[in-house]
């Protein structure tokens, strides 16, 4: 920290004091792709997030790499560096850290920068920088794909042997309002990405070669040792070679690949939550590596347990995290407070009739339900739900349980802070609720998973069936735990239900909406979903 401050005071004062109208500089231009779209989704939120990224990431990174932030625009920034190497390093640091920040958000909320770097002779003033060197940097940024860094030929010539990155030549590009075409390179933060395949091939080849040599050597040895005896077992000759194999090829192999080493030099970075530099930034986009709690593992694909052959409900592993629980819309949802949820897994759907009936068939659940197999189970009291999870936990020997209320809301929000997971405005057709979609009201809610999943990949988190959670009912959150655990007392007459139902209005389908019901009473719209401790 002290060091950063020193840089700041040292550098910031210098350029303004010396009157240098022109100078050669590496110009970094960055902007957020889809900024207006983000602003449309969530104006205030986006603004705060962008400001935070600028304050916490962009400014310090520039300072750390001995650069100077010239200006920030609404959605972008321009910085100048004395050193092209530092300029590109800084750009990579920013890109990789932004990835980490997005990790906790659904894809359509991602803030992704496009960055262009150019070397040029520019005119520098206190709060702006001019010249076509700047324009080219901006154009490069304009053609860069979100999350990527594009550099000009001039920068490339300066850094190609100094900065260990992969560089993909995109050829000469004609850019708007610039007469001469510009040579463009795409920076691949991980050099191994480009050569990985080749390296692997080389390594396999080396291994095969080593093995072949070994076999020959082994064969010769065998011949030499055993020929005098004229053993009949000549056929077994090759068998001896694998035994010796580990010794010989080992040194042979270690010499060729000193290759993985250079990687760390790319950037001595604070790679916070940033995932390992991936093969290429392009593939980052393709594989939405979503929220800090993400549907990465649909872990419990209908597994058949060898022991009991039970079809376990599908679950989605959630990474957990901190979120603002509650809202100011109803007295029961106040006060809004920050709650941290540990990693856990949540049922992908509410428990279905079929899943429930497996428990009923085992005589562990109170009644056999009628209705379609894939409809959510209904007319469930909290006690019923507890019986089911107890049975499931016992037969599978996994810690199945009901979710806590905090876990439920965390999962329902899917990383968002809006009323519904898709935004603040209600949208028809997103949930199965009363007077709010084209789905005709009926005795049965629509089958599980027939509507869109939320950003965590969970279905029917809102509407459908009311869902029991572990918590006792408390009229407000005053005094509730902030660690994501269930808020319970020994004996509580009523427990919390979440989600609203197909017979309740859209307001009940909000992520933060909560209700209560007597613990041991069944009601035709009440169901539940399961949770699993890691």
């Amino acid at each position: 920290m002290a060091e950063i401050r020193k840089f700041k005071s040292g550098r910031a004062g210098e350029p303004s004091s010396e009157p240098t109208p022109r100078r050669l500089a590496a110009i970094v231009a960055g902007d957020i792709s889809g900024y207006s779209r983000l602003m449309q989704i969530d104006e205030e939120g986006t603004h705060t997030r962008v400001k935070r990224i600028e304050r916490d990431l962009i400014e310090p990174s520039i300072v750390e790499h001995h650069g100077k932030l010239v200006k920030t625009t609404g959605d972008g920034f321009i910085a100048i560096f004395d050193s092209p190497v530092e300029a590109v390093r800084c750009s990579i640091v920013i890109q990789q850290n932004v990835v980490g920040r997005n990790a906790s958000l659904p894809k359509h909320h991602w803030i992704e920068y496009r960055i262009g770097v150019n070397l040029g002779d520019v005119i520098i003033e206190t709060d702006d920088v001019y010249g076509d060197g700047v324009n080219i940097a901006t154009r490069l940024e304009g053609i860069a794909r979100p999350g990527e860094v594009y550099i000009s030929g001039g920068i490339y010539e300066q850094i190609k042997h100094k900065l260990v990155c992969g560089y993909e030549s995109l050829g000469d590009r004609k850019v708007k309002n610039i007469t001469d075409p510009v040579r463009v390179y795409r920076v691949l933060p991980d050099p191994s990405a480009l050569h990985q395949n080749r390296k692997r091939r080389e390594r396999i080849l080396a291994l095969l070669l080593g093995l072949a040599l070994l076999i020959i050597a082994g064969g010769t040895l065998w011949q030499m040792l055993w020929q005098p005896r004229k053993s009949a077992n000549q056929a077994s000759a090759p068998v001896s070679s694998p035994v010796e194999a580990p010794k010989v090829p080992a040194p042979a192999l270690t010499s060729p690949p000193p290759l993985p080493k250079p990687a760390p030099t790319i950037a001595p970075i604070q790679q916070q939550a940033a995932p390992q530099p991936e093969p290429s930034p392009a593939s980052k986009q393709a594989a939405p590596l979503p929220p800090s709690a993400s549907p990465v593992t649909p872990a419990g694909q209908p597994t058949t347990q060898a022991a009991a052959s039970i079809r376990e409900p599908e679950i989605v592993s959630l990474r957990g995290g901190s979120f603002a629980m509650g809202s100011n819309e109803d007295a029961s949802e106040k006060p809004v407070r920050q709650v941290t949820v540990k990693p856990f897994a949540m049922g992908k759907f509410p428990v279905s009739v079929q899943e429930w009936n497996a428990c009923a068939a085992a005589k562990a659940c109170g009644f056999t339900a009628t209705g379609k197999d894939d409809a959510p189970i209904t007319n469930i009291s909290w006690n019923d739900a507890k019986q089911y999870v107890a049975w499931l936990a016992e037969t599978t020997r996994k810690p199945y349980r009901l979710p806590s209320e905090a876990e439920w809301e965390y999962a329902a929000r899917g990383g968002t802070q809006t009323r519904y997971w898709w935004g603040d405005q209600f949208q028809a057709g997103m949930v199965n609720c009363r007077n709010c979609s084209d789905i005709p009201a009926s005795d049965q809610p629509v089958k599980v998973g027939s509507l869109k999943p939320n950003p965590f990949g969970l279905f029917d988190m809102g509407g459908g069936v009311d869902q029991w959670v572990e918590d006792c009912w408390h009229k407000t959150y005053q005094g509730g735990p902030a660690d994501g655990s269930a808020w319970v007392e020994n004996e509580c007459p009523s427990r919390v239900i979440r989600s609203g139902s197909w017979r309740k209005d859209s307001g009940y389908a909000r992520a933060s909406s909560r209700g209560s019901y007597d613990t041991n009473v069944r009601y035709p719209t009440h169901g539940f979903r399961i949770a699993l401790s890691p």
């Binding site: 007459p493 017979r503 309740k504 209700g515 019901y517 007597d518 009473v521 009601y523």
Partner: protein, 141 residues
């Protein structure tokens, strides 16, 4: 108000012979559901205990299918008519007392509110004819 209630009840009673198709269980002919407290027109400060009265029928746990018995539901500021073919809704304005409660602590925001009791059968359907109380209006300060 009161007159309306009675006409509705009377109308419901005349329909009794034709009601074989309806969902609800038959109610006792002299069943009477009423508020012990508060009374119609009461002015109340803050939260209060609402007490439910029922004559000629019994209160049981929801799900218990005994003849001539049911459980209470309190409708707060509900204006839509009750659909006798559907379970009594369960939400913030339809409070359920399926554990057989005969009183409840109620907290309402300041202002005028209407309260009405409805008796539900084991499956939360209204009886046939519906056993409902007079709809009372109270003022919370």
């Amino acid at each position: 108000m009161k007159f309306m209630q009675w006409t509705v009840l009377a109308a419901a009673l005349t329909c009794l012979p034709f009601a074989a198709l309806a969902q609800g269980k038959p109610a006792h002919k002299d069943a009477l559901l009423y508020f012990v407290w508060p009374q119609n027109g009461a002015v109340i400060k803050g939260g209060f205990w609402c007490r439910f009265g029922l004559r000629n029928m019994g209160v049981t746990h929801a799900g218990d299918n005994y003849a001539n018995s049911g459980h209470h539901h309190l409708l707060v500021d509900v204006n839509e008519p009750l659909n006798p073919k559907e379970p009594i809704p369960q939400d913030k304005s339809h409070l359920h007392f399926g554990a057989g409660q005969t009183e409840a602590r109620i907290e309402l925001p300041p202002g005028k509110h209407t309260l009405q009791l409805v008796l539900g059968d084991a499956e939360h359907y209204p009886f046939n004819p519906p056993v409902v109380s007079q709809k009372i209006t109270i003022t919370v300060r």
